[in-house]
């Protein structure tokens, strides 16, 4: 009895091993593809979180710098901009930096505006002839298109901790590729 059991066991093991190897052979292409896809996804997410990413600009609150509204170009092509995240390490910004930040009214939304006053500065807004001091750790952001822009004029200075990156270049549409210009000092309404 014993040797026959052993032989049957050995036979089963041999069959299972062969079938398993055959299955491995035919699905190895799918497995390779999945591995490469996951690796590519990991690297893309890490680079986009820590170093640099491309973001679509919606709305016209930063015209004419971003999304300028001209009747010839049509309204269906939004700008795409390059956002760098190296500034988040030290939180050192300067006047005229265009930044991406989480909205203080709704943490799921991101806005793009320009910094016009840094922490500790006295800032005079043109609208209501008021002078106020930007608190420590906060900054005053405004859109270039003063007529239609939800910015610090409505929700006050924002903490620097909400800033998620700095816009450096426009990468789409091709005829507008180039670095973002910082406007000359006289145009910024800070004292």
């Amino acid at each position: 009895m014993e040797p026959k059991c052993m032989e049957v066991c050995r036979w089963f093991t041999y069959i299972w091993h062969n079938v398993h190897l055959e299955q491995m052979g035919s699905s190895s292409f799918l497995w390779n593809f999945t591995k490469k896809f996951v690796t590519f996804g990991l690297i893309t997410v890490t680079v986009s979180d820590r170093y640099v990413t491309v973001v679509r600009v919606r709305g016209g609150s930063m015209s004419p710098t971003l999304n300028p509204k001209t009747s010839s170009s049509g309204n269906f092509s939004d700008d795409y901009v390059l956002v760098e995240k190296f500034c988040i390490d030290k939180y050192k910004f300067s006047h005229g930096d265009v930044v991406v930040f989480s909205s203080p009214l709704n943490h799921k939304e991101r806005h793009i505006k320009r910094i016009v006053a840094l922490p500790g500065e006295w800032f005079g807004s043109r609208q209501n002839y008021d002078v106020l001091k930007v608190p420590e750790g906060h900054c005053w952001v405004e859109g270039d298109n003063a007529a239609s822009s939800m910015d610090s004029k409505s929700f006050g200075p924002i903490p620097l901790g909400l800033i998620r990156g700095r816009v450096t270049h426009v990468v789409w549409p091709p005829h507008r590729i180039g670095a973002i210009q910082s406007p000359p000092r006289e145009e910024l309404s800070s004292l």
């Binding site: 690796t39 997410v45 890490t46 203080p104 009214l105 943490h107 750790g137 924002i158 903490p159 909400l162």
Partner: protein, 166 residues
């Protein structure tokens, strides 16, 4: 002939170096994703959260899933980027969500209790030790976007391992 063998050797070494580098890069990417999206350790020190956390230093784990899904609630311990210094993180307890009316008491400004309404998109944070804590009573409600994670487990000191109380 010798040149060919050197080339073959060099190519073999280069391939092995590339493979090892790829493994290291993948490992670092996994570390970053775990740290930013799932769970990360934080060191807490200072008297503002006594008796929950001690003065000398505690090491806790903070998870980042709840705040992304918007599930942070009243009474949660959260790690928040400080509104007065963005390079620092502070750990406090949430005492009011948006729309709540918060009644608070600041011992340094006398015995009167004050009332504040938390605006939309903000939370009110307070340290457990109200006598030695700089929190929303001083710098106002903080935007929800500053919340980095929710504390769910303490790993150091070893005799207090577990979920922090209250």
């Amino acid at each position: 002939m010798k040149v060919m063998s050197y080339m073959a050797q060099w190519r073999g070494i280069a391939k092995e170096a590339m493979d090892r580098t790829a493994i290291a890069v993948k490992f670092l990417c996994c570390l970053h994703i775990t740290d930013a999206y799932f769970c990360s350790p934080t060191h807490i020190y200072g008297p503002s959260m006594l008796p929950t956390f001690n003065m000398v230093g505690d090491i806790v784990l903070a998870e980042h899933v709840s705040q992304r899904l918007g599930k942070v609630r009243h009474g949660d311990l959260v790690v928040v980027r400080s509104p007065s210094d963005p390079k620092k993180s502070i750990t406090k307890r949430i005492m009011g969500m948006e729309g709540d009316t918060v009644t608070y008491f600041d011992p340094m400004l006398g015995d009167a209790t004050r009332v504040a309404v938390v605006p939309k998109g903000h939370v009110w944070i307070q340290g457990d030790n109200i006598f030695a804590s700089r929190d929303s009573r001083h710098f106002g409600p903080v935007p929800y976007g500053l919340i980095q994670g929710k504390v769910f487990f303490r790993v150091w000191p070893l005799d207090c391992i577990g979920v922090p109380g209250q």
